[in-house]
């Protein structure tokens, strides 16, 4: 098959759907009004009042978001293509998600930051960030998109330096520099695209055909690179490990809501990207590199938050990979699921000490030597079991043949790798062998049925939103899939112990990843500049 892709054309209805729009607008207004309110009351009232105000408004906004989503799914009418806000399934899924994260993180912060001297300001900034993200998700006009992009970046910088400690201010400067670069690239990209499509409305970029020119390609590239700065893809990932000076809830919301902005933008302008297959291929490569780099780097980190940070870099790489393959719905699904996962682990990062006991028990019990034969059998059994279960269950939702038809070989490879490696890691601990078969089987089933569900959801509900498949025709992705398989096979053999690697290489690799998290420009002063003098005189 030649390079063909299917695009569902959007039916442009000129009939605005009142309730849906209203709910969304109310939700956004609530966020902005409550931010304004906090701005007024922040220095002058008790923490209890700040809390009540913030909690009430975030709940109201969340409920409005849910109402918006419900009314959208009940009616499934798209908004008019010339309006300022884009209301499609993407928004219907993401708006409640963002508001939900806001509610959760804020609820956590009420108690967690109870001793903070800038309590009201903190919630003000969080609200502004939420408002910025909401606007970004729903924006249909280039100006709104740019404003919200820049606003959310700037508010995040303020949040990173919230504690006003000198190391925090330094880190925030690094983040600011990265964002400025990204902003420039994004703005130029958007400007170029506006020119090429002759309209600043994103939804019209789907229906209009662009002027093919080097400017179009250049703006798309600029846009893509600009987006990558915020999504912490290599080589723009350096700012992220430096943000640990921010309070934990800020890290949670950053990793759950903010770094996803890239994939969200890609999904919004997916038709534009599709016109440039080589840009997509570039995304595949960059995403893959980030994914492997992030996952490998996370294995060497010694502190919890850095481990989570590199895990995010890896996951964002995977998400960009999925975007590059055209599976935007999978990328959005991954974004949501990852956000929930990451936020939870950041907020619960103090509980690693409670779990230490389990780790010690299992570490002391496990026998480090492994039996290669029993590995292979248990892995094989696991993969067969999971495929079998998923196959039979998947038939309920969607003919598996249909979804497999659309499943890109690279994604398929990654899926299988996940199951295989999960079985591998589990087998290393002695005494859980039956366990590992069962677990990897369950895991594989969960994975495959998850993908089937995504596909089914996409099939039924995403008609009004651009949905495209990049068939497994592209030699490029097949080639990459082969390379990834070979590479992971190599790693498998190393981990099993069948392939010895010289110590020098191991040491070098280890240090490469360990040092990846260090990025200071000047030697920092370790002492936190907290003193009673500061506390009382401010």
């Amino acid at each position: 098959m030649a390079d063909t892709y299917i695009v569902d054309k959007i039916e442009c209805s000129m009939e605005p759907v009142f309730m849906t729009d209203l709910f969304l607008l109310l939700a956004m207004t609530t966020m902005l009004l409550s931010a304004l309110g906090l701005l007024i009351i922040k220095g002058r009232c008790s923490k209890g009042l700040c809390r009540t105000w913030s909690e009430a408004s975030s709940w109201i906004a969340f409920l409005l978001g849910i109402a918006f989503s419900f009314s959208y799914f009940l009616k499934t009418h798209p908004s008019s293509s010339a309006s300022y806000l884009q209301i499609t399934t993407l928004q219907a899924v993401l708006v409640p998600y963002i508001l939900f994260m806001g509610v959760l993180v804020k609820r956590f912060s009420y108690n967690y930051l109870q001793t903070d001297s800038h309590y009201g300001e903190f919630f003000l900034k969080i609200k502004l960030l939420m408002a910025g993200l909401l606007l970004f998700v729903t924006a249909n006009h280039v100006a709104l998109l740019s404003v919200s992009w820049i606003l959310s970046g700037w508010v995040l910088v303020l949040l990173i330096r919230h504690t006003q400690i000198s190391s925090a201010i330094q880190s925030s400067k690094m983040a600011l520099n990265t964002f400025l670069l990204g902003d420039l690239l994004l703005l130029s990209g958007l400007a170029g695209l506006t020119y090429s499509y002759h309209t600043p409305y994103l939804s019209l970029w789907i229906s209009n055909s662009p002027v093919e020119s080097p400017m179009l390609i250049a703006s798309i590239i600029a846009l893509v690179i600009g987006v990558m700065t915020k999504t912490a893809i290599l080589p723009f990932h350096r700012w992220l490990p430096n943000t640990l000076t921010a309070p934990t809830p800020v890290s949670a919301i950053m990793h759950a809501g903010f770094v996803n902005a890239g994939a969200i933008l890609f999904a919004k302008i997916s038709t534009v990207l599709i016109t440039q297959p080589w840009v997509m291929n570039g995304l595949v490569i960059l995403g893959l590199i980030s994914a492997v780099f992030g996952s490998a780097a996370m294995l060497v980190q010694n502190d919890v938050k850095r481990y989570l940070t590199f895990s995010t870099i890896g996951q964002m790489g995977f998400m960009i990979l999925e975007c590059g393959l055209g599976a935007f719905h999978l990328a959005i699904g991954h974004l949501i699921v990852h956000g929930l996962f990451k936020a939870r682990f950041f907020l619960a990062s103090g509980s690693v000490i409670e779990h230490r006991r389990y780790i010690r028990n299992v570490t002391l019990a496990q026998n480090e030597t492994c039996n290669a034969v029993s590995y292979r059998w248990s892995l094989l059994a696991g993969v067969i079991a999971s495929t079998g279960i998923a196959f039979s269950l998947g038939q309920c939702f969607l003919p598996l043949s249909h979804s497999l038809e659309h499943l890109n070989p690279l994604l398929g490879v990654m899926l299988v790798l996940s199951v295989v490696f999960s079985g591998l890691t589990l087998q290393k601990s002695k005494g859980v062998s039956l366990f590992s078969i069962v677990l990897s089987g369950l895991f594989g089933f969960a994975l495959l049925s998850g993908y089937t569900l995504y596909e089914g959801f996409a099939e039924h509900y995403l008609q009004a939103w651009n949905r495209m498949y990049l068939f497994n025709n592209s030699l490029f992705t097949t080639g990459v899939a082969i390379i990834v398989s070979v590479f992971s096979g190599f790693i498998f053999l190393v981990m099993v112990g069948l392939l010895p690697v010289p110590q020098a290489i191991v040491q070098r690799l280890y240090l490469f990843f360990l040092n990846a998290s260090d990025d200071h420009v000047t030697p920092t002063n370790f002492m936190t500049t907290f003193s009673h003098r500061q506390a009382i005189q401010t």
Binding site: K47, R107, S171, H334, V432, Q507, Y510, F512
Partner: protein, 873 residues
Amino acid sequence: MPSTATKQVDFVTQDSNMDSIKNSIDKVLNIYGKVWPLHTVNACNPLVGFEDRSFVEALKQSKPLLRHHLEDSLFLFKDLYRRQQFSWNNVVEAIDQYPFKNGVLDQSLSIATKTFTYQAALSQELKTFLTEEMSENIILEGVFKQTFDKEAIIPLKLLSTSQSCWVDEQLVKWLATYWDNGQAVWKMPRSSNTSFYDAWQNIIQYDSQAPKELQIFLKKTTITLGLNLLQPLNRLEKLLQALSVPHNNYEWIINEECQSLPGWVGYLKYQQEASPEYGNAIYDYLTVRLLYTVAIKQSGFYQNANPPSTEINKTFTQRLQWISQGNPDFVYSFQHSPQQWQGYFNTVTLLDCVAILIRALEVHQQTPLLQALTNAYTSSLSVEASLLPKAQAVFCIDVRSEPYRRILESVAAIETYGFAGFFGLAIEGKHYGDLESLPLCPILLSPSYSVQESVASNMPSPLLSRAVRKASLYRQQWIYAFKKIRRDLFATFGYVEALGVIHGLTMVRDSFVGSWFGKAYEAIKAALQSKMGTTYTTQPCNQHSSDVQLSIDLTSEEKAGLVASIIPLMGLRFPLAPFVIITGHAAQTKNNPYKSSLDCGACGANGGGYNASVLCQWLNEADVRSKLKESLEIPDRTYFIAAEHNTTTQDVIFLNESVIRPQDHSVWQSIKESFQEASRLYQHQLISKPNVLHHQSHHHGGNMSAYDWSQTRPEWGLSQNQAFIIGQRDWTKTLNLEGRCFLHSYDWTKDEDESILSLIMSAPMVVGAWINLQYLFSTLDQQRFGSGKKYTHNVVSLLGVYQGNRSDLQVGLPYESLFSNDGTPYHLPQRLLVCIEAPKERVQRIIDKTPSVKRLVENGWINLHVLDPMAIG
């Protein structure tokens, strides 16, 4: 060929050189406090190395070595003064009591035509400081900068500030990697039991952060000095020689290397004793640092980098402001005769002011307490002995036990006693299914016995017990399995896809219905607990082998011997009541790295239920009882019940109710209900407690915080601790001590040979003093002795906490445990008031013969007050 004579001389010099290095290191290490890993955070005096000096001298002498900023705590006292926690009269009294050398305060300053004594100047300085708001005076600043703000004279500086900061960062990186306790999946590539130095040598050549030139010099130095072939001390000697450090500066240099990373140095100190198989951790640390230093000096690396900006020392500026109150005569006199001012400022330092204000606070807080105690004592002497109680309960001396004991006594006829929470058993214990033993005794002692928990066939419902314990083990393995999947190179992507939603649900659970789940879990646990039981087998420590399942237990004679030495120390009134309840305590909290700081300090920062269970098991054994018949008269009808007081929710759970025979169930039930009633009342009191310092939004429902993952302060722990009272319960029974006092039971009439009081003073009292001093210094200097605000903490290597991006290992207590939400200190920094009911001579004799106690008393680390029964009665 060198002659024998020369060789001998060399040998002698070398030996004495190494000795002097060793001595210097020991001396320097002495002043750094040990830092325990986070799962057993023990409280210890941060200035423990200075205890042989007076309190005030310790503050002053520790400053250049430990680089603290205790003077900044003056502002904390200003805040307390504003909130009327102490008054001006207290300050005057404190100045009077202050141990200035004779005649110091009578020296004078002449300003214009008048003379001010030092005393008057000090009074004026403090008064202005405490009562008035002063703004910065730019003119004064300009005058002072030239005259006074000189940098302290540094004997020897090897590296510039930026260079030593770089070395600090490198060391933090290597230490976190080497000592990783289970956080990283891909660990530092080294074989087990490689020392830090060897591991570092293996890996440094591949380090991209060390520039090429530096690497060359590192390698060159290593080879030239032959470091890899030498013993650790020899290496240090060579390196110090290479840096041309004179002998008398060894201590200074070694301290310089340690003072920038006091947290890690403290942890290495702990590891030196805990894991000697890794070699000498401190020597290796110093070796690596000095090796970097040598290489950096030779390569000139980072020479011209901008150091972090330092604040201008405004100390003297401010002090003169406080004394002069803007009076131009003072400024004139300063400009024209600065020496007298220098004399004043150097004699009456800011640390003296801090010590004075601490004393003022103590006077205000402790005088009424002492008065109340004295009055209560005289009135308690006339109280008759009460009737036989329904039960006797032994609690830990912890301050949180005191309110519970008070309420329990008011609810039912239960006598309570205070005893150190480890109940005399210096053990290390393994919970069921665990492979790692935890030391369950105070840090002053080392465990003598190893205990293992198991399910024996003669226990009630052994099948149920085994099933429940196994289920808990499977749960652990399940959690660990999922943890492993998500920490894998490729599997992590699939994990997120497949199971990410579950984490969203978990967040919803923890944020909104965490307490329902928590309580449901506990209800199930409690229902099962009453039907199950475990048994404990004990062995002496040196026979312990970790691979072999212990089934050999101590003999009844041995157990009886141990018990016979413990029971009389508790001061229980004989004949014993039908139920003797031995209550340990533990905290309950979620998502809190500092949980162990809230647990029982006497049990090595673990829960106290384990020791209570072991002791009660021994006491309930028929064989042991029969062996004890000669020494102790324990009635056959008496049960020993183990319990654990949850200091966060105030519930008390009973751990071995299954020993109670059916005919005694009804009596037991009424006692149990008394405990539950006391828990309810205590909880209610805490919620409705009006506290002047509290900001309204600080108030938290004690019950819910135990399950709240976002609560950084589930309970106040030992904050506001104030006194340690050693005496009979009758004395303090009528007083409401507000949960601020350690209470240890002691009957002076039954202690003719002074052994009991000696034991109490040398162990629990010292531990109490250390806890108090830990809280004191953590409050006064959060930067150096505390760990800062919890919301920017980052758990590193599963053994400690970073503050922010990367920092030294944090020591001490976090901000949230000591300060209220509005920034005022909740813990009022004062030294421990120790009140003992015993004859004065007895106490004096014990002080004289116990060096650790003598140090604390004579140097003013605690305030000792003895109520002599023979003088009063």
